[in-house]
């Protein structure tokens, strides 16, 4: 690893396009200003890694997960009596179902095909 010493307001260039400036040094904390092209994302490493890890885990989802989810949500919203002990989740799930129609409309607007009706996509 290349190690450089810089003082406040001094800058490092990475290639022609990326500039890193030391904005402030206070105790063991350094504030950096980063100027980079839009095509180069800049993230705090721990946040970047957390999202990367979460994506990798989420990629294991199965079709069964969705059908289980659908059934859970339907059952929880169809049985308000059972939710009396805990009203908040019940109302939350009702809202989820109420909005399903809106979502479908949004999906149509965005021209999104459904997994159930692929043949529909060539009728245009």
């Amino acid at each position: 690893m290349l190690v450089l010493s810089r003082q406040k307001d001094q800058t490092i260039m990475i290639g022609d396009l990326i500039e890193i400036t030391v904005v402030e040094v206070r105790g063991d904390k350094v504030r950096l200003g980063i100027a980079a092209p839009v095509s180069i994302p800049v993230h705090r490493k721990e946040v970047y890694e957390a999202i990367q890890r979460e994506n990798q885990e989420a990629a294991r989802a199965t079709v069964d997960d969705v059908s289980t989810l659908e059934r859970s949500i339907r059952r929880q919203s169809d049985a308000p009596a059972r939710q009396q002990t805990d009203e908040r989740p019940g109302s939350q799930h009702r809202r989820i179902l109420d909005t399903a129609a809106t979502i479908t409309a949004a999906a149509r607007m965005a021209d999104i095909p459904t997994t159930a009706a692929q043949s529909r996509s060539d009728s245009k």
Binding site: V38, S39, P41, H43, R44, V47, Y48, A50, I51, Q52, R53, E54, N55, Q56, E57, A58, A59, A61, T62, V63, D64, D65, V66, S67, T68, L69, E70, R71, S72, I73, R75, Q76, P89, Q92, H93, R95, I96, T99, A100, A101, T102, I103, T104, A106, A107, M109, A110, D111, I112, P113, T114, T115, A116, A117, Q118, S119, S121, D122, K124
Partner: protein
């Protein structure tokens, strides 16, 4: 005449999709930078769950939802420059989705790394929010163990 393309998927078999429905993630999705072409599928017309399926990798797909339906106050505060890459002025001008994950008996949504779509140009990117109130696992709902066992 629309050009159709065949997409192999491990979950849904072979899908025939109009080529203009493909969504481009110029930067990929974090952890999958090489996967830039995706399609958005609805699991069922009544469902609030969508699948984001990779065109490049048959086995790669995410369950996604529109987070505002579950978290009405959810707000994506992204920098204008981040949105420029996909041709939007702000996240509000696009469609926002969140990737879901199953953690034990709950389904969670990643609100820290939302996906922002430009529905006109069909370009999208995953945004990393600095907002500390959002993390990668917000609970959407619980999976009832009995139902899970029956599937």
């Amino acid at each position: 005449m629309e050009r159709m393309m065949k997409i192999e998927t491990s979950r849904f078999g072979c899908l025939e999709i109009a080529a203009d429905r493909v969504i481009q993630f110029p930067l990929g999705i974090l952890g999958f930078p090489e996967c830039q072409s995706w399609i958005l599928l609805q699991s069922d017309p009544q469902s609030c769950f969508f699948w984001l399926q990779s065109v490049d990798d048959a086995e790669l797909a995410f369950i996604v939802v529109q987070p505002q339906n579950f978290f009405p106050a959810y707000h994506v505060r992204a920098q204008a420059e981040e949105m420029k890459l996909i041709g939007l002025d702000s996240p509000e001008a696009g469609e926002v989705f969140a990737i879901c994950n199953r953690v034990g008996n709950s389904i969670t949504a990643n609100l820290q790394g939302p996906l922002v779509f430009n529905a006109q140009t069909r370009q999208a990117r995953q945004v990393v929010l600095c907002d500390r109130q959002y993390h990668t696992r917000h609970e959407l709902c619980l999976v009832e163990p009995a139902l899970a066992a029956g599937s």
